[in-house]
């Protein structure tokens, strides 16, 4: 009895979300958007549960706020802000692009081909610049008392 030769499973799996080849940086904006999104929703769920502590009274609330005044939490808070800014700005780009805006018109491909990714690259640069600006401005929160 002979065994049928088996094909090798060449699917990249989760690794394929992060790195799969020498692709352009929009593919990394995609993974950045995923990671920041997961971080933000996880934070939001915890945040709703944590702020419910107000119902335990003024002292419990003050203790919780005291915890968040430490330098570690200030950095975490800033990273949260940065993640929200990145996710929001990239999200605005995706909102426009995924409805077909800023991608040009369909036209007969003439070599060298310009993909829709390259066509909206100027928009990507502007959005990333704005995001960087907002993140830099937001850094002031690290110095708040």
């Amino acid at each position: 009895m002979t065994n049928k030769p088996t094909a090798y499973n060449n699917r990249l799996g989760l690794k394929g979300w992060v790195y799969a080849g020498n692709y352009t940086f929009e593919r990394y904006l995609y993974i950045g958007h995923r990671l920041s999104g997961l971080g933000l929703i996880a934070y939001m769920v915890l945040h709703i549960i944590e702020t419910a502590n107000r119902m335990r009274g003024e002292e419990a609330w003050a203790a919780l706020m005291g915890l968040f005044a430490s330098p570690v939490f200030k950095v975490v808070e800033y990273l949260l802000f940065a993640a929200a800014v990145f996710h929001a700005m990239n999200g605005v780009r995706l909102l426009l692009v995924e409805l077909g805006f800023f991608l040009g018109k369909p036209q007969e491909p003439i070599f060298p081909y310009k993909s829709s990714v390259m066509k909206h690259r100027p928009l990507t640069y502007i959005i990333m610049l704005l995001a960087g600006l907002l993140m830099a401005l937001g850094g002031s929160s690290l110095f708040f008392k």
């Binding site: 989760l14 419910a52 003050a62 706020m65 929160s141």
Partner: protein, 121 residues
């Protein structure tokens, strides 16, 4: 049209979240810049209760809660379901995420209402 409607709502709430979350950040985390108030004062119990008793705050928080939870949990559902799952696991993921969303929305709404009807400090 179901998946199209779910996705359309997911992107429709983007501008709502952008505006309301921006306001929330300004009040909670950047109070020294926008209100000349220290972060400590902005977050203390009395200030928080006083702010929470306004109708505007109540409406904004409920909207932000609904929009943020829907957007975030729809995205999470998409990420998890892009993994190879059995049909049974797909049902677990869908119903599990819906349950988490409903429970957290209920908790958040209750806390917001509790603050809104608080007699004050």
């Amino acid at each position: 049209m179901r998946e199209t409607r779910l996705w359309s709502l997911h992107i429709l709430v983007i501008p709502i979240i952008a505006v309301l979350l921006g306001m929330h950040f300004a009040v909670q985390h950047y109070a020294p810049v926008f209100y000349g108030m220290s972060v400590e004062k902005a977050r203390d119990f009395a200030t928080m209760i006083e702010r929470g008793r306004s109708t505007a705050q109540f409406v904004v928080y409920i909207l932000l809660l609904a929009a943020g939870l829907y957007h975030g949990l729809y995205g999470t559902r998409g990420i998890i379901r892009e993994l190879p799952l059995s049909p049974a696991m797909v049902k677990v993921v869908d119903w599990g995420i819906l349950t988490v969303g409903v429970l957290i929305f209920a908790l958040g709404t209750y806390v917001t209402w509790w603050t809104f009807v608080h007699p004050g400090v």
